[in-house]
């Protein structure tokens, strides 16, 4: 099987669905949903069967700009999973989403994620900045459409406009950064950049200018401060499945690229290594604080999850800065990937619950969560565990991620960043637990009748909850997957 098969399959399926919708208008939404979900599931199955031998099948023409290391494979799997979940969530949300879209049509909501997924999967394997740029833009442009898709909702439209302008701005910054990095290192591929930076004679300031632009551009994608301001607004305005996709998929995609870029900028005895690390630490600390502290005030859970997403990006940036710390069994890129893997189930679970409440006529505010544990014990418990995990309580996935970050920070003696991380986490105890409190509160929300969940919904909820617990209690398999690159890298370094 060719390395492109799965991505191509997804992209073609996406386009095919659009065509079907265009030429066979009477086809039901359910069919399209089934096709896209089934297709993704199939792709996931294919991926897992093919993943083990994929690296060998890389054709020579794409070797300069593509690599299929363990990290790439992990992220590809990750993107498939999140896409599948998002599609399912879209299907779940269809009844209320349809109210805000043109003629209740949702075909693009089912087809575009497939294309986005393909784009993200390419990004995961990208080896040079051209590929990164093209794949990133495929994803970004699709997201412009997705965010604004429920355009009958003025909030969604507003979110779309904001995302559009700021996204385009960040694209400009990114390209400018690429230009300067290229200009100073003479290469667009990560390997070339790293090689150039290892030469001691290189002028630091221009490279740093390029790196600064590049980090700013990518920082926007991953919601790093001070480029985070769009996040709460867009998360709040966009339809729930899209927000989910943005907060997990898009962020992870941003971090793949950031990981690769930072690796290139830091590798070996890079002349600008210390500066980049310093920058990541400062940005990471700032991100944690600017994500956590304003979150204290949020009333909307959806917006809260936006801030939460910012603060988690901060931890991820801090993890990236601890490039030298490999004592915890993973490189910084491994830790980032691990963290994202833990971030996936808890965030998605949060959005799933939001979606279910929304479907039952509830709002998105904390007070709408009141009495949830009584209305649906399963959801109440699941959401409690998800929020506990987001807050980083031990025995949940979220803690494992944070633990690795903390250990790395301590290992590198980055005390300032550690303090910021701790402050952020402490504030997190407050704003995440507020929702937990509401969930278990005996007072009821405006809507108080028991929630009825479908079997699939229940199953998904349980699976996600179990994922949180399993990752928190038995992270060994995941870590083994992610620690391989370190060994490979170590081998290649010798």
């Amino acid at each position: 099987m060719s390395v492109f098969t799965i991505e191509a399959f997804l992209a073609i399926l996406g386009l095919a669905l659009l065509l079907v919708e265009a030429f066979v208008p009477q086809v039901s939404r359910r069919t399209i949903a089934a096709a896209s979900i089934g297709g993704t599931a199939l792709a996931l199955v294919l991926f897992f069967t093919a993943a083990s031998h994929a690296p060998d099948s890389l054709p020579s023409f794409c070797r300069p700009w593509m690599q299929l290391d363990q990290l790439a494979l992990f992220y590809k799997g990750f993107f498939l999973v999140i896409t599948l979940l998002v599609l399912w969530l879209t299907h779940e949300c269809a009844p209320y989403l349809g109210k805000y879209t043109l003629e209740g049509r949702l075909t693009e909501m089912f087809s575009l994620p497939l294309i986005v997924c393909a784009g993200m999967m390419w990004m995961a394997a990208a080896q040079d900045l051209v590929t990164v740029f093209v794949a990133l833009e495929l994803v970004t442009v699709s997201f412009y459409v997705l965010v604004a898709f429920a355009r009958k909702s003025s909030l969604a439209l507003e979110a779309g406009v904001k995302y559009l302008i700021l996204g385009a701005l960040s694209t400009g910054v990114l390209v400018f950064g690429i230009a300067w990095i290229y200009g100073t290192t003479g290469s667009l591929s990560f390997q070339g950049i790293a090689a150039a930076l290892a030469k001691p004679g290189i002028a630091k300031a221009p490279v740093l200018l390029g790196a600064a632009f590049l980090l700013a551009g990518l920082g926007f994608k991953v919601a790093a401060a001070p480029f985070q301001s769009w996040v709460p607004d867009v998360y709040q305005g966009a339809p729930i499945p899209v927000t989910t996709f943005l907060s997990v998929g898009s962020k992870a995609a941003g971090f793949v690229v950031l990981t690769r870029t930072v690796d290139a900028l830091l590798v070996g005895h890079s002349v600008i290594g210390p500066e980049i690390k310093g920058l990541l630490l400062i940005l990471g600390s700032l991100t944690v604080l600017l994500g956590s502290l304003p979150a204290i005030y949020q009333q909307s859970v959806k917006r809260l999850l936006g801030y939460s997403s910012i603060s988690h990006a901060g931890y991820l940036l801090l993890a990236l800065a601890c490039d030298d710390s490999t004592r915890s069994g993973m490189t910084s890129s491994g830790i980032v990937a691990f963290y994202l893997a833990t971030y996936l189930p808890m965030t998605v679970l949060g959005f799933v619950v939001l979606a279910i409440l929304r479907l039952n006529g509830g709002g998105e505010d904390i007070r709408d969560f009141r009495g949830l544990a009584k209305r649906s014990p399963v959801l109440g418990l699941a959401m409690t565990i998800a929020l506990a995990s987001l807050a980083g309580l031990p025995l949940t996935a979220g803690f494992m991620g944070k633990l690795f970050v903390f250990v790395s920070l301590v290992d590198q003696a980055y005390w300032g960043a550690l303090v910021c991380a701790a402050i952020g986490a402490a504030a997190g105890f407050y704003y995440y637990f507020r929702t937990i409190l509401a969930i278990h509160s005996p007072e009821t929300s405006p809507a108080s009748e028991p929630l009825k969940l479908g079997t699939i919904t229940k199953a998904c909820t349980v699976v996600l909850t179990l994922a949180i617990l399993v990752l928190g209690l038995y992270p060994k398999p995941l870590q083994q997957v992610l620690s391989k690159p370190a060994e490979v890298a170590a081998k290649s370094a010798h």
Binding site: V161, K162, I165, L166, L169, S170, V173, K204, A205, L208, L209, A211, A212, F213, L215, A216, G219, F220, A225, P226, F227, Q228, S229, W230, V231, P232, D233, P274, E275, I276, G278, L279, I282, L283, L289, L290, S292, L293, P294, A295, I296, Y297, I423, A427
Partner: protein, 636 residues
Amino acid sequence: MPEPESTSASLPTMLLLLPLLSALVILLAHRVLKGASVIISLLSATVCFLISLMLLGTKDATPVLLPFLEVGKFKVAIDAIIDQQSRGMMFIVTSIGFFVHLFSVGYMKEDESRERFFGALSLFMFSMTGIVLAGNLVMMFIFWELVGLSSYLLIGHWFEKASAAEASKKAFLTNRIGDFGFMIGILMLFMANHGDVSFAGLKESFAMGPVHDAVKIHPTFFLIAALGIFMGAVGKSAQFPLHVWLPDAMEGPTPVSALIHAATMVAAGVYMLVRCAFVIEASPDASMTIAWIGGGTALMAALIATQQNDIKRVLAYSTLSQLGYMVMAVGLVALQAGGHHDTAAPGHPAMFHLYTHAFFKAMLFLGSGAVIYACHHEQDIWKMGGLARHMPVTFVTFLIGTASLMGVPFITSGFWSKEAILGVAFEVKGGSPLFWIGVATALLTSFYMTRMFVIAFLGKPRTDSAHHATEAPMVMILPLVLLAVLTLISPWGWAAKMLQAMKPDHAETHSTVMIASIAALLIGSGLGFILYRGKNSDPLASKGLFKVFANKFYFDELYAVLVKVLQDGVAWLVNGLERIFVDGIVARLPAFAARRIGSAARVLTGGHLQGYTFLLGAGLLLVIYLAIFVLPQMGH
């Protein structure tokens, strides 16, 4: 658990176990047992009395009864010292305990919760036995605290009465303050003697062991240690300045006053000081301090006693005064021994006075109990009078007690023991002021005892209740008589020897001492008789200095202010400061800061697109600035 070594361990074990069992059984099953509780308690007291009699004949031993704490080299066991001092004290405790039990059967007959009373009495017997037997300081401390508890329970027996509740609390707390010092003393001795706190070990160590030399190198250390130990005694034996609890303790039932607050527990301080004599001897400054505090207390209490109208309070202050006497004796003897302690010294004036005092003071208290009982719980002596006719037996025993207390020469036990103390004061270098204080106290003692006796027993009844008073029932009379017998026989050589009274055998008696004390007795009682004979009110009352006496030197008022200012005031202040500073700085300030910063940071997401683009631009500038102009300069 090591096997008790034959009889030397079995008797003390039983002495400890019996009252403990009795207390436990009453605690757990008094609902079922009802009146049987009384019998159980009485039975245990009786058996204890008998055992202590048996104990009188045993040889010296130090059996270990039970390991309590054992960590490495540090061992605290429940053990027992059986020597002259403990045998004698045990006899006092169990005999008076037995009498008081007996007396209480009558006295507490009508009380609704007499099971509780007898349970607490048993607990007290257990604790007191423990103190007497204690072979090491920690064990002494344990039972020290336990007697405090039983005293607390018994003083507060009628806890619905606010005054009783307050008095019990006061007693416990004051004792706690004493124990604070006691514990420090124990700790310092523990430290100095490398972990051995047994009396035997300490004594040896002070005599020739490592501590012997250390005393010379660190005199202050051992001064503080000795004073710490003494502080325990100050609390328990109600010495100045912790004496305030004892008079209030009279809120308890009278048998309790007789047993605990006259004869045994309050004397435990003296007992303990004599046990630790070697510690005090090691530090002359400590000895002097102790002697002076004892003397001061004796005089002060005697002065106060002259103006008290409550029969029990007079006796209470008298007890204080006599305890002061004993404490003074401890200090003086230590000063006299001054490091050349003769280990074979058979007697101790303080212990001897304790011994004699225990019997007659218990008798006086029980007598006053009988009087109170007869007068329908009337305690004011000015509302009695002429009781001699109605209560002949009580009258006689009371007379014997009073005479003993005043120290009527040659025939009363009090005379001999007081004489011994004054003799030491006379002999010791620098003891003469204390000697004269002792004489003055003796004079005052004669005066106030005469006063009380004259007012209560002689003359005519002043109230109906006094008029209709009748002799107490047999179970109450019997103990009085027995105590009177003991009082009379105890000073005599053969009895003192048999009962292990620790009578010091002085070769010479100083004539000065003899004359001074007889003169004091005569002047005191003469004045009392003249002043109060046939009076219906106190002629000295509210006259200048006497008002100060009547008001107990205003100690209660002073302490009330101290408690208010030093305790409640400081508590208020500390509480406020803690709220403001600790909580404020550690908790509320960061929370406030986080909220303010969070609130301020929301401006960054204020919803305006232009603001966002500006932020992006400014952020870009910041990142460039940091990357190019700041970080490279920082040097890594």
